[in-house]
Amino acid sequence: MIRVAGVTKAYPGGNVALCEISFEVARGEFVFVTGPSGAGKSTLLRLLLRQELPTEGRILVEGRDIASLPAREVPALRRSIGFVFQDFKLLRRKTALENVAYVLNVAGIPRSEQRRRAYNALRGVGLHHRAGALPETLSGGEQQRVAIARAVVGEPRLLLADEPTGNLDPDLAVDILRLFREINARGTTVVVATHDRDLVRRMQRRTLVLDRGRLLDGGTLP
């Protein structure tokens, strides 16, 4: 599903966020990327979403080298990946339902179908009763669940999550990870970046350990 080969990401000024990272993620796998703050977890996920380009190396997602993807094909790549952000990144002026439906709107899905699927996705995360609520009226946990509904509503084959429990209390964090497990059970490949080692231990999944931009452990498939 994902093949990262010899990827380095260096920023102007000499800051190296990732250094010769190589690993693979199989289709349908659930993988954690962990490490302390500044280890390069978010950078790695940004590279997988083509938010940034690697300085060196190749990143293949479903066989496509996303670094050499033409700019006009980037939106389609992003539509094929579900992404959950630590800070939720919900559209403030749109309701929970509209936020979830936006992904389908972008993909050109008919409006009635958008609403039906968005509602079902919200039901999947237990938030259908807040479909008409604006993000600012939702709690952090609720906002994160809306963000997860948005990430999965397009039925992506790959779901990336960057510190999805970072802003949540421990009980909510477990709930959120349970949701990811359910999504993964339906066949979606899930990659979760988190610094919460307790959570990782509890889930017992393959873990890629990063430290100061280097992959310390977990790079090989089990």
């Binding site: 990144k89 002026r93 992904v103 972008v106 008919p110 948005r150």
Partner: protein, 298 residues
């Protein structure tokens, strides 16, 4: 087709939403475009009216060839032939001595009685060459003077309308200068309104980023702003043109004579439809270009 309609409806609704949430910024951009269209419209109104007035005067412009007393019928016929053969002459009218006196009386009324008190009719007969509008009046007058010079029946050749050529040249310069100034002002408006709209875009910078991250194409993000720019340009131009016409009518109704005479020369008729349409198009272009400018680095 229905997906296109759905897209159009989405963009229109997003544009409306954007307008509602950045009311001040959008109102400022609209007002800027409206002010420029109003200014440009006022200039074009004056130019179009003065031009129409000049055209009417040109239609009445004629070169008068005064005939010597006693010029015979054959000499007159020869002069008519020469005049009609001159390029730029539309037709030739003959005014005899009695006709000249009659015209004087109709123009000056009782004051013309002084002429009647003189022994006989002192006014000469004349041939009046009516000029075609498209040709230069001064050049035609020169050609006529050259054509009839030395002819025995000619007393004098007079032409008082060569100022029309100068007016035409002035109008031509005004139009060319106005067009250039219009393009420059419009470019400035695009920069200004675009910068104002960019404030709105930057205010929604986070939202734009989110839209792009979840897979919206730059065009999908930009389209509502383009729709808003189109509507803004349209509304601003329509508003400015309506205000201009209302002001014109109000001024004509309120202006007392004789000042109203001058006003009728410069603003007697409304802005021609073609020019209004051009201004509307310019306003729309400014609105859309401003939106494009606002999104130049998406």
């Amino acid at each position: 087709m229905s997906s296109w309609l759905a897209r159009a409806r989405h963009f229109a609704s997003e544009a409306l939403d954007e307008w509602r949430h950045s009311l001040g910024v959008n109102a400022l951009a609209t007002a800027t475009i409206a002010a420029v269209v109003l200014g440009g419209g006022a200039i074009l109104l004056v130019v179009s009216n003065v031009e129409a007035h000049a055209r009417r005067l040109r239609a009445e412009a004629r070169v008068v060839v005064y005939l010597r007393d006693g010029a015979g019928e054959s000499a007159r016929r020869e002069l008519v032939r020469l005049l009609e053969a001159t390029p730029g002459v539309l037709r030739v009218d003959y005014v005899d001595k009695a006709g000249a006196l009659e015209r004087l009386r109709s123009v000056y009324g009782e004051a013309a009685g002084l002429v009647g008190e003189l022994e006989g009719n002192p006014l000469p007969a004349s041939l009046e060459a009516v000029l075609a509008e498209k040709d230069s009046a001064r050049e035609t007058a020169r050609a006529i003077a050259a054509a009839v010079a030395g002819e025995p029946g000619v007393e004098e050749v007079r032409f008082d309308g060569d100022w029309l050529d100068r007016l035409d040249a002035l109008l031509g310069t005004a139009k060319a200068g106005g067009f250039l100034a219009g393009v420059l002002v419009l470019a400035a408006v695009v920069l200004l309104a675009g910068s104002v709209m960019r404030l709105a875009v930057l205010a929604h910078g986070e939202e734009v980023e989110i839209m792009l991250l979840v897979g919206a194409s730059p065009m999908f993000v930009r389209a509502p702003f383009l729709v808003a720019g189109f509507v803004q340009g349209c509304a601003a131009s329509a508003l400015a043109l309506s205000a201009l016409e209302a002001a014109r009518r109000l001024a004509l109704a309120a202006m007392p004579e004789p000042s109203a005479i001058l006003l009728r020369v410069v603003a007697g008729a409304p802005l021609p439809f073609a020019w209004s349409a051009a201004l509307l198009a310019a306003g729309i272009a400014a609105g859309v270009s401003s939106a494009l400018f606002a999104f130049r680095r998406l």
